[in-house]
């Protein structure tokens, strides 16, 4: 009997809540997305500052999943390749970099039907 009374009380308590949604907006975000405010710690796509990179191989050495690949011809001409579908976005490359070149911004990678599109050339310097 007490349970039934509780149920009835629930009905009376929730009735204002339920009627109020007709006068309020839904919480849902729009699609395509309106700019979301991600937390400052969010790690999205890997990006690079073209000027700062010297091709020191530190990020490639420290990457736990070998998602980065450095093709080095000489001191001036090299290329950095990022495998987006292998990367775990741990941020180790950002920590390892001593020149503030590689960093993770707060955008996400676009989905694709072909895995070849996930092999991204981050940087191309000099003649290759």
């Amino acid at each position: 009997m007490k349970k039934i009374l509780n149920h009835l009380r629930t009905f009376i308590y929730l009735l204002p809540n339920i009627t109020s949604v007709f006068f309020s907006k839904a919480e849902t975000i729009k699609y395509p997305q309106e700019p979301s405010n991600y937390s400052s710690g969010f790690r999205g796509s890997v990006r690079i500052n073209q000027q700062n990179c010297v091709g020191c191989n530190a990020c490639v050495r420290d990457c736990p999943v070998s998602a980065l690949q450095l093709i080095k011809v000489s001191k001036e001409s090299f290329s950095l390749i990022h495998q987006q579908d292998l990367c775990t976005y741990c941020g180790q490359c950002q920590l390892s970099c001593k020149f503030n070149a590689i960093y993770l911004d707060n955008t996400y990678n676009q989905p694709s039907a072909d895995r070849k599109n996930f092999r991204v050339v981050l940087l191309k310097k000099g003649k290759l």
Binding site: I4, H7, T10, F11, L14, L15, I18, V21, F22, A26, E27, T28
Partner: protein
Amino acid sequence: MNITEFLFNILIFPGFLFLLALALGLDWLDRKLIARFQGRVGPPWYQPWADLLKLFAKEDILPAGTNVVFTSLLPLLSFASVMTALFYIPIAFRRVPSFQGDFIVIMFLLSVPSLLYFLAGWATKGVYSIIGGNRSLLQYFSYEVLFLLAISGTIITSNSWSIEGIRQAQFEQGAFILPQIFGFLLALSGLIGKLKRGPLDIPKANSEVIAGPLTEFSGKKLALWILTNELQTVAGLSLLIYCYFGNLWQMNKLSGFLIFSVLLVLMQCLLSAISAMYARLRIDQLIRLNWYLLIPLSLLHNLYLIIK
């Protein structure tokens, strides 16, 4: 009545197409309302149509070892029985062929899908299907009695076993909703169990028994089951409207139709609100609630009506 008018009546206006639009419209209203109650946007208006069309165009597969003819017959039979019941229920302002005792026929035809639902779980041989089927049978034994007892208050007052008799009695005595509001609420709670929705969706509890007896159904058969459930909503709600607000459409056709649709939408809002507010009951809680509290209450209500 000539043949074109007959075909028009069967297929389009109070017939198949109109009922389909009504049922899918109510389904959309239900989904949209629940989404709004939860602070979401909810699906667009064409969503149930798209779902049904997609399901009808999908491949139809069954697990190995099931009887194909039997499992195909089950959704067809339940669909046919609900459509036959709708033939006797006055939707909108339609006049129906009424005879003494057609109320019992409607109640029987509306309970056929529940029994076939149990058989569907038994026939497809899945573990979850069998659990869901047993649950639906247990639930059937509790809500069906409640629904029939609660709605028989109107039969007692009008002293007639036919839909037309209940209508005539309400013309003379006024609508039954005010003197029998208690019986109306009890019948509504029975109807929630009958439609397997709201807090009483125990047989097809999504997080417990996957999809209940419908777990192994796909394609056209699943579409027919979903359609049956939606048509059952229309049938149950219009039966309640007819039994408790019967005198409201003694006016002309248009106002009767308007009053009917407004009442239908209001009752659907009530059902959606209840299913958004309450968590799902366990099967033993449901049976205890029904047999210890609601059925004795409806018996007392009927006793009061008889003495009065």
